[in-house]
């Protein structure tokens, strides 16, 4: 049986790349027709490219804030990618004054100024041994900001870019990645496959 994967459109994200990655896994990615479909989706993807403030405005305009918060707090299958992961935080240096989803009690800070920013490229992910989904390997990153630290109650993975930063967190069937699994070659495809097959009552 193929899995229904709902991809939240943010108006700015590379949703075509995310959809293509899931199609290669024989899942059926689709945009939601209503907030109910976001709430009820077997698998939900919160992609994110663009600015923190613009993405939260889009989420609020479509009445998705509570739906997303509830899903994530309940640990239902949700994959947050790049900016999507940062949206889980309370706030971001990128858009001062904007409230994030706040499901993790952390802020989002800029990568250090003395580095080449944005980080655009492949970096090594060495997962926490407790991680359900991640294996060691190279992942593709495209970010100027990062989650400040691993929140309590989540399994976190760190990656080095002029110091350690949080490259992924997971809790229940929720996986949030600072990198782009849909652009991380065979390693990324395997990860998406493990998330699809290991969650939503399939594990």
């Amino acid at each position: 049986m193929s899995a229904d994967v709902v991809i939240v459109p943010t108006g700015t994200a590379n949703t075509a790349s995310v959809a293509a990655a899931f199609r290669r896994l024989e899942a059926e990615p689709k945009p939601p027709k209503s907030p109910d479909e976001v709430r009820d989706a077997d698998y939900l993807v919160l992609p994110g490219v663009g600015a923190f403030g613009a993405a939260m405005a889009h989420i609020d305009r479509h009445g998705l804030r509570e739906i997303l918060t509830d899903r994530i707090n309940e640990g239902r299958p949700t994959l947050a990618i790049c900016l999507g992961m940062q949206l889980l935080g309370e706030k971001s240096d990128e858009s001062p004054g904007v409230s994030g989803l706040g499901v993790v009690p952390e802020g989002v800070t800029r990568l250090p100024q003395d580095l080449t920013v944005p980080q655009l490229g492949w970096n090594l992910v060495a997962p926490d041994p407790l991680s359900r989904f991640l294996k060691p390997g190279w992942a593709y990153f495209a970010n100027s900001y990062k989650l400040a630290s691993v929140p309590d109650g989540w399994i976190g993975t760190q990656t080095e870019y002029g110091g350690d930063f949080v490259s992924a967190i997971e809790r229940g069937d929720v996986l949030a990645c600072q990198f782009h699994p849909e652009l991380s070659g065979a390693w990324g495809a395997d990860l998406l496959g493990r998330w699809l097959n290991g969650t939503g009552g399939r594990s």
Binding site: T12, N14, T15, A16, S17, A20, A21, R23, R24, V49, G50, A51, A54, L83, Q113, L115, T116, V117, P118, Q119, L120, G121, W122, N123, W138, Y140, F141, A142, N143, S144, E160, Y161, G162, H180, E182, L183, S184, G185, A186, G188, A189
Partner: protein, 251 residues
């Protein structure tokens, strides 16, 4: 740290890959989907597609090409050529590009860079610059396949573009492009000293030593074209050589 990237570049005209020196004497070099897929299998870290179509009809193929390539590609895809507006960029992103490169249109109307960065983010906004040497440590921005000088100084232009929100520079040495005589290292050093955003070096690669030189001059990625298209080498063997010489790339 993030590993330096090796990025094969496909020049595409009317939906077909073409090759030639300095956009002259273009010859058909195959299907973009087949080629992008082949380079991905060889270990490419990203693919750049530059649409060099001369007509609006030809450019219409760029969206279709992007969409077709996306279906097989699980690594990042940057598309450029003929992008004049936020709408043009959005069409490419919707079709499956992860980053969009602008060149001539940004020179004519620099606000385009602000508009793209505001809407899609800096990490999505690539400025392509063709640089022609005009004396020691001095380069001029040229456009229209190098035929048109712009009077703009390369370093100053790139600094202002970074301030407007460009997140990456695709820096081509007009003098070295297609010559296989090595990258213009002075140009790479001058530009990477001037801005803190990633710089992709382009123009002149013949072998792994050239790639190492560009990377140690400050580039975070290298664009390669003719040596791959001509079958002189593969991404895999270039990476093997780089690794053997102590440059950490994604194997």
């Amino acid at each position: 740290m993030a590993a330096p990237r090796l990025i094969p570049c496909l020049d595409v005209r009317d939906g077909r890959v073409v090759k030639g020196v300095r956009f002259q004497d273009l010859r058909d070099a195959g299907d973009p989907v087949t080629q992008a897929s082949m380079y991905q299998d060889q270990g490419a870290d990203e693919i750049v597609i530059l649409d060099v179509s001369a007509t609006p009809e030809g450019r219409g193929h760029a969206v279709e090409t992007t969409s077709n390539v996306r279906q097989v590609l699980s690594i990042p895809l940057t598309v450029g050529g003929g992008v004049r507006s936020v709408e043009d960029a959005f069409a490419l992103l919707e079709a499956g590009a992860d980053k969009v490169a602008v060149n001539t249109a940004a020179v004519q109307r620099p606000e385009l860079i602000d508009e793209l960065a505001d809407r899609f983010g800096s990490q999505c906004t690539v400025l392509a610059v063709d640089a022609a040497a005009r004396g020691p440590n001095r380069w001029e921005v040229v456009v229209n396949g190098g035929r048109t000088p712009t009077g703009r100084d390369v370093k100053r232009w790139i600094r202002s573009a970074a301030a407007r929100g460009a997140g990456e520079i695709l820096l081509t040495s007009w003098d070295r492009d297609g010559t296989r005589s090595g990258y213009d290292l002075d140009l790479i050093e001058a530009v990477t000293a001037a801005v803190g955003i990633p710089v992709i070096a382009s123009g002149g690669a013949d072998n792994a030593i050239h790639l190492e030189e560009a990377l140690s001059s400050g580039a975070t990625a290298v664009l390669i074209a003719s040596i791959l298209h001509d079958g002189v080498t593969t991404v895999g063997s270039l990476k093997k050589e780089l690794l053997a010489n102590g440059t950490e790339v994604r194997p």
